[in-house]
């Protein structure tokens, strides 16, 4: 053994040592300098992107009253891994849950993750929170995370305000802004002004350790973004008027829309029965939603802009205006006191011979049937189709048969039949004015929403134009520019033709069917309607505006199955006008009678009577066969769907149909409309 003899070996050993270290350094060179993915993984490991939820914008009424605000609620969170030795009994008592519930929830949380927080109890009340807060230190692994929920302090305008709900997967796919657990407005203002209300989410980047415990902000918050609160909205609604109207409409089925004619601002929009908007907030939401959904009177359904009603006599006004403009009649025109088509005839209620003004005052049916026939069958048109189309264009210019474009979701366009509808039903050239004369008096295949009716009143009050009715005036203190609200929409009727119609409407209130509507020397223009319908007693209808000069409020009131227009709709409308103009009521007796009037039982009977009838399927041929211009998409709005009948159930229904008397087209239409409003809206 000598030093020299080991020389070779020494070199080999040193060489092996060197080789290994070199290999390591090369490897480190690749791992640390070349490969990027490790850095990315490191960030994924350690960085958590926490969302800061902005406060949702508040909603005020036109007078600054709060309609919607945010209330703090608290989600009780649990991290299962950290739950140790807690007094389960005490804990359960605090939360008012059973031990089984407790174990169940813990198990659920564990299945999700042992080390990540999950919601143990959603939205615990402030009271529970207060008591819990004091004892929370005893319950390791639990903590409370504040959130906000919507609160509607006045319990009014539920249909207008709408509600918010958690986003679903479909929506997340469609709109990448939203993430699981986010809330989104799904109805009313909450939906149509979602983007303004929701604000801008903030992101906070925090560093976490392997157990997901927060360890502080990343680079001192350099990459964080601050949440920006949603914009506050000012609605056009008058909360007092809205609440008052809801009281008047209580225990009745129907709708009421009041608009300021000079601006198009909607002062009140009521659909009755209504519901407390706070029902659809917070923990009880899904339970309440299910309950409201099952309720036969369909409280979730916004009749003010989704229900199709036959306009009845109120339709005579636009009819007259169209005829005046086209030169079919003039204010002095008279017609015989009856209107006869084959075996059918329409008679007067018995009044002196009259011209247009009187015909409006007395709501003379033959007069307007004759007017309609004179229009459609007029020689100046090549045939009655051209005549009808001309008439129809006039009606359309009043916003009938189309969406008005209100800034609320799910507005429906109503039904103003086209010639092809009649061609389908009667065959081409097999119909003429005398076949469809009932349109002249607002019956037949017409479906008009209360919003459209109120808008027609704005047009008549303004003598020829309207501003798009809308519900939001200001966004974040600035005028609402999201919709085209400042434009006057003109009808095809020239201004002077409105005078005689206004004269007639004034007479209706002063000396005609709606004398009950008078108050305090105000010059009111109005028109009652008593619309026949297939659901039982006539709908009670009133449209009008006041005062005649410088109109401040235009209104349409529809009370279903209530009888004469003068009986319910007219008094309600006039009380609304008085309340808006004077903020007090001079006729307490009428007010009391309206508020106490309970017409719900009538509806219940009707519903029962109808229930075995037309609920399940569209009777007869498929929807498309009859109403081609209604494409299914129109009916398929938001969450509502209408199914078309399939060949199998068609035959089934035809068998059923044979046992009943054949349906007339209007009955068919109304069945359809009734079905849609009754069953198909909230599927």
């Amino acid at each position: 053994m000598s030093n020299t003899s080991g020389r070779n070996q020494q070199v080999v050993v040193a060489g092996i040592f060197t080789a290994l270290i070199v290999i390591f350094i090369i490897r480190l060179f690749f791992v640390q300098l070349i490969e990027e993915s490790y850095t990315v993984s490191a960030n994924n490991n350690v960085l958590r992107y926490m969302t800061d939820y902005p406060a949702r914008g508040m909603v005020y009424d036109r007078n600054g009253k709060i309609l919607a605000y945010n209330q703090a609620v608290y989600d009780l969170m649990v991290i299962p891994r950290q739950v140790k030795e807690i007094d389960t009994l005490d804990f359960c008592q605090l939360l008012d849950i059973t031990k089984e519930d407790f174990l169940d929830k813990i198990k659920k949380a564990k299945t999700y993750s042992r080390i990540r927080p999950s919601i143990f109890e959603k939205q615990i009340s402030a009271e529970t929170y207060a008591t819990l807060q004091e004892k929370l230190f005893k319950f390791k692994g639990f903590y409370v995370q504040p959130r906000t929920i919507r609160k509607y302090p006045n319990n009014t305008a539920s249909h207008v305000l709408g509600y918010i709900g958690e986003v679903n997967d479909k929506l997340i796919e469609k709109n990448p802004y939203y993430r699981q657990g986010d809330y989104i407005g799904t109805s009313g203002i909450e939906q149509s002004y979602e983007e303004e209300l929701r604000g801008i989410r903030g992101i906070r980047i925090v560093m976490v350790d392997v157990f997901n415990r927060e360890k502080g902000s990343y680079k001192n918050g350099a990459y964080d973004t601050v949440a920006i609160a949603g914009a506050n909205l000012v609605a056009t609604l008058d909360a007092n008027l809205q609440a008052y109207g809801e009281k008047l409409m209580a225990n009745k089925i129907g709708a009421l829309v009041a608009i300021e004619p000079t601006t198009g601002e909607i002062l009140a929009m009521i659909s009755s029965p209504s519901y407390d908007p706070n029902l659809l907030v917070g923990r009880a939401r899904s339970k309440n939603y299910g309950y409201l959904l099952k309720e036969p009177s369909k409280p979730l359904f916004n009749r003010a802009m989704q229900a199709y009603y036959p306009p009845g006599s109120t339709f005579k006004l636009t009819n007259a205006l169209a005829a005046l403009q086209e030169g079919i009649i003039n204010p002095m025109t008279t017609f015989p006191h009856s209107f006869v088509v084959g075996s059918k005839s329409v008679h007067c209620h018995g009044h002196p011979p009259i011209a247009l003004e009187g015909a409006i005052q007395y709501s003379c049916n033959p007069y307007f049937c004759n007017t309609f026939r004179a229009f459609v069958d007029n020689n100046k048109f090549a045939d009655c189709e051209t005549g009808y189309n001309t008439w129809r264009t006039y009606q359309e210019s009043f916003g009938i048969g189309n969406k008005i474009g209100v800034d609320l979701p799910h507005e429906l366009k109503g039904l103003l039949p086209t010639t092809s509808l009649y061609d389908k039903y009667y065959g081409r050239h097999h119909w003429k004015a005398s076949t469809i004369y009932s349109l002249g008096i607002g019956q037949g295949e017409l479906g008009i929403t209360p919003l459209q009716m109120a808008n027609v009143m704005c047009i008549i009050a303004n003598k020829g134009y309207y501003y798009t009715p809308h519900i939001i005036k200001k966004i974040a203190g600035k005028p609402n520019t999201t919709r085209n609200l400042g434009t006057k929409h003109f009808t095809k009727i020239s201004e002077e033709n409105f005078n005689v119609v206004q004269d007639g409407m004034q007479k209706v209130v002063e000396a005609g069917t709606a004398r009950v509507a008078q108050f305090r020397e105000v010059v009111i223009c109005g028109k009652t309607g008593t619309a026949q319908n297939p659901h039982g007693k006539d709908h009670s209808l009133f449209v009008g505006f006041a005062p005649r000069e410088n109109p401040r409020i235009a209104i349409a009131v529809m009370v279903e199955n209530a009888g004469f227009g003068a009986e319910w709709a007219a008094p309600i409308a006039s009380l609304m006008m008085e309340k808006f103009m004077y903020d007090s009521i001079s006729r307490p007796a009428i007010e009391e009678r309206m508020m106490k009037g309970n017409l719900i039982h009538i509806l219940n009977n009707t519903l029962e009577k109808k229930s075995d009838d037309v609920d399940a399927q569209i009777i007869g041929p498929s929807l498309h066969d009859f109403i081609p211009e209604l494409n299914i998409g129109d009916w398929n709005i938001g969450q509502f769907t209408v199914e078309e009948s399939t060949p199998e159930n068609k035959t089934q229904n035809q068998n059923k149909e044979n046992q009943r008397s054949p349906l007339s087209i209007s009955e068919f239409t109304f069945n359809l409309i009734y079905r849609i409003e009754k069953n198909e809206y909230f599927s």
Binding site: V12, V13, F24, I25, L28, Q32, Y38, S41
Partner: protein, 406 residues
């Protein structure tokens, strides 16, 4: 050498501090935390170092066998009384004080081996010498293996370098190397294919060599040995290795990807090191190690902290420092007149080398996960003491080199 030592220890301490650092215990002298305790270990190590330097140099040579014997006895005691800690029974508990005798077995074996091989008239070429030396290594190795501390046991393989330096045929090294390759290949390639490859290589080399009878037998022997090895690897792998060890090897070989289970450690370790970049994230700025993504980050995976916080620069410096230390030890070894000191020095170098190879190798995904500490860096009293003793005994012996006659 002392400077190397101090440098390593200080760096280790800082990195332990960084690895377990959190705001609640930010005092580096906090005794409740690993870095605080490590300071204590460092202190005691210094005392031990001083003691060693004070002791007469001849003591170690004379008492090599008694020390070896004592340690063997302790290993047996451990086997008898030790509690099971993470699957291994390698700790002796004296009060709150824990000792790991297997750490000390390394230096005891170095000494015993040095003592034996430095005896006059010992020739490495003798079969008897080989067997005795082998026994000196294998007995403590077997005891440690019985404690289920595979990592520490494997360290004893490092002594092959010592034997090699002392005249063991290079064939042993080559066979060892070949065996390693065969082991890996046997796991990755089906046996049939591997055997046919070995066979053809054997045939080819015979054809190329002079066709003597002797060559034929040599080639045939090697070839059949290789084939036998392939089969035994399969057997050993499936029957002798434990499940977690199999998994770790499979992960390393890329046969299995299990980032949440067996591969978690290595993957997180690579992420930590990889995210360090060139300059690293800076002292105490490492997010992966500080927030416990990397397990065992103050002991076995301490290298991650170096990689993450000091970057490529830091890791390279540490590795080069280790290389320099190894060179220095080899240099010292070769300047000895006394074979005892030389052999002992080789033992020290081999042990340190093996630790670095496995520890750093596993942190960067080049070696299977075997829990052995990085010398001077990793947290742990026994390990630090053991390396301190190893090194300072060498320093002491080296200081006597002039007095020893050949």
């Amino acid at each position: 050498m002392v400077f190397f030592y101090l440098g390593f220890v200080l760096m280790g301490w800082m990195n332990i501090y960084a690895a377990v650092y959190n705001e609640e215990h930010s005092n580096i002298f906090d005794m409740s935390q690993n870095y605080g305790k490590q300071l204590m270990w460092i202190g005691t190590s210094m005392l031990i170092a001083m003691a060693i330097l004070v002791i007469d140099g001849k003591f170690f040579a004379s008492f090599s066998y008694p020390i070896y014997g004592t340690i063997l006895l302790m290993l047996l005691v451990v086997l008898a009384i030790a509690k099971n800690v993470q699957g291994a029974r390698s700790w002796i508990e004296i009060g709150s004080f824990k000792l790991q005798p297997s750490e000390f077995a390394k230096f005891a074996t170095s000494m015993a081996l040095a003592k034996y091989l430095s005896t006059l008239n010992i020739r490495m070429q003798d079969t008897k010498t080989k067997l005795t030396a082998g026994a000196l290594i294998l007995i403590p190795m077997a005891f440690v293996l019985l404690q289920n501390d595979t990592g520490s046991a494997l360290v004893f393989c490092a002594f092959i370098f010592v034997l090699f330096r002392e005249g063991l045929s290079q064939n042993f090294l080559i066979f060892g190397f070949l065996g390693g390759i065969l082991f890996v290949l046997a796991l990755m390639v089906p046996a049939i294919i591997l055997i046919s490859i070995i066979g053809s290589i054997g045939l080819l080399s015979y054809i190329l060599m002079r066709k003597t009878k002797k060559n034929f037998f040599t080639v045939a022997l090697i070839t059949s040995l290789c084939c036998g090895a392939v089969f035994s690897v399969d057997y050993a792998y499936n029957h002798i290795l434990q499940a977690h060890q199999r998994e770790r090897i499979e992960v390393l070989l890329g046969k299995k990807s299990d980032l949440k289970g067996a591969g978690y450690n290595v993957n997180q370790s690579l992420i930590a090191i990889g995210s360090g970049g060139f300059f690293g994230k800076g002292f105490l700025q490492g997010t992966q190690t500080k927030y416990d993504f990397v397990p065992e980050q103050s002991t076995d995976f301490i290298f991650c902290t170096v990689g993450e916080e000091w970057g490529f620069l830091g890791t390279t410096i540490v590795l080069l420092m280790f290389l320099a230390l190894l060179y220095r030890i080899l240099f010292i070894a070769e300047r000895q007149r006394s074979p005892y000191t030389r052999i002992y020095a080789y033992g020290v170098a081999s042990i340190i080398f093996f630790h670095v190879m496995i520890n750093v190798g596993m942190a960067i995904g080049l070696a299977p996960v075997i829990g052995i500490p990085l010398p001077f860096f990793s947290y742990g009293g026994s390990s630090l003491w053991s390396f301190t003793i190893l090194l300072f005994v060498l320093i002491k012996l080296d200081s006597y080199r002039m007095y020893v006659l050949r």
